[in-house]
Symmetry: C2
Subunit: 302 residues, 2 copies
């Protein structure tokens, strides 16, 4: 089943305790599409500026499963740039050294007509009013899931709540879930957010795994116990990509489907962070993912 | 199979966001024994002072599975007292308002001769030299596991390392595991500590679950997604009690046994923190524990 993602495309500079990369391909829609592409065809919608190097998106162009018809190269605009630095004593913490929103601060992308029939939709983090507008361009989506961030919870809560009412699912961090609800207990927070939307909430806790909330049901999953953590950039988007990719592939979103989707999200994220930028996602195959899922099942069995 | 625990007995005052209790029964050996008693007979070794109220240990005396022959009421001494306050905005954080070591700062307890043949042994947190001395009083234990704390890692590392070499297993917090090894990655830390002892290391991450390290194997388990967290005091000792109780009951400590033991530890801890002091542990039955284990299996399945 068709899966559409709208989100950022970025030129990233990343510093971690083990190294540094400059001006590499990044952005939520990129990581999402690469991860989801292991499961089903993906339609990518995003905008870069004129400054974007010609061959920058080449790695994605080589992937048959990713349709770049929704990629706009905007004249007179500049590409989104992000420079992040992970803490030497705790790679789960990072500082933004510099951010140039550039094209992300302009009008949003237009979804090409041939994508309007998309059934599975992921609205990666951006202003909730823009997420709403993008959603409005689609005909009859079957499952709409979004990501958000603290900035919108703090400053655009009204627009965010309006969006939530239109969503089937939401993916967010534990700190965001606590901020949105004012709850200090993350389980209570997830249960409260669940009431704001239609089907499910996934609360990601980084290295501590995730919680899935559905009506009357909670599912708890640890993360994969990763030793080799080179660059966590994009792990959350890869998680969402694998999760949505599995749901679109099986064309169902029942309890068992969602749990397996989140397990796939967990293992794909654990692979992604083993190298900088998209290096690992471009080097692995679906077999590697399924092998790690089998390992993860063993690791969590009792 | 016989299970022996050595540890503190305390008079606790606890403040949490939902209430306060004054001068209630606490201490590592107490929580441990109550939890372990659901699985097998427990032998308790600990010391209180003359000031200890006559009926203070009455709740334990009513439990057939707990043998108090190792309880010493020391003349001229005072009982260990602890006053803790949990943070209003995060119940996973706490401050020690006041601590009076009293009898814990004197010589350790003597293990009664009738306990010398104990096969399963848990040395709850105290000075590692004292843990070593207690271990020396036993004839031929089959599985010896200990707990420790940041104080000994920082100031008594040599004694601690000597103790580790004599242990089959160790239970510790994630922050302690990082401190002991200097590793920022908790998985790497657990693997490194595993080399210091014979069989296994359990790293507890509080609300984020636990990791079990055995030769060539890691097991990751989330915590039970608890909404009702009234008083976390004793949750870690209850975890250890249920874990050791299961191992002693089945008289095995293979991979599958350890994993199930940790699942029992997880669910008993999740029950324990639903009320102050020992209230919940004294109110539940083994059936309640098994019902929660079944629920936990469902919550974590994918």
């Amino acid at each position: 089943m068709s899966l559409l993602v709208t989100g950022s495309i970025g030129i990233d500079t990343v510093e971690t305790p083990t190294g540094r990369v400059d001006d590499v391909l990044g952005g939520s829609s990129i990581y999402f599409a690469c991860a989801a592409g292991f499961f089903c065809p993906v339609r990518l919608v995003g905008v870069v500026g004129e400054d974007c190097p010609r061959d920058f998106l080449k790695p994605l162009k080589g992937r048959q499963n990713i349709d770049l018809a929704g990629l706009e190269v905007r004249k007179g605009s500049r590409t989104f740039r992000w420079h992040g630095r992970y803490h030497a004593d705790d790679i789960n913490e990072r500082d933004t050294v510099k951010v140039d929103l550039n094209v992300l601060a302009e009008r949003g992308p237009t979804i090409p007509e041939k994508f309007h029939d998309s059934k599975y939709v992921f609205l990666a983090n951006t202003h909730p009013a823009l997420q709403m507008e993008l959603l409005g361009q689609l005909k009859s989506p079957k499952l709409v899931v979004a990501d958000t961030m603290n900035l919108w919870i703090e400053h655009e809560k009204k627009a965010l709540l309006a969006l939530l009412g239109r969503l089937d699912g939401l993916v967010m961090n534990d700190s965001e879930a606590k901020m949105l609800t004012g709850q200090s207990n993350v389980v209570s927070a997830g249960m409260e957010i669940l009431k704001m939307l239609r089907k499910f909430v996934v609360v990601k806790k980084g290295e501590h795994g995730s919680l899935l909330f559905q009506r009357g049901k909670v599912c708890a999953m640890p993360s994969y116990p990763a030793v080799k953590v080179v660059d966590p950039t994009g792990a959350g988007d890869s998680f969402a990509g694998a999760m949505m990719g599995h749901l679109a592939a099986v064309d169902k979103a029942g309890i068992a489907d969602l749990r397996k989707a989140i397990a796939y999200g967990t293992v794909v994220a654990s692979l992604e962070l083993e190298d900088f930028s998209l290096k690992k996602l471009l080097a692995i195959s679906r077999d590697d993912i399924d092998a790690r899922l089998a390992e993860f099942r063993d690791i969590t069995a009792f």
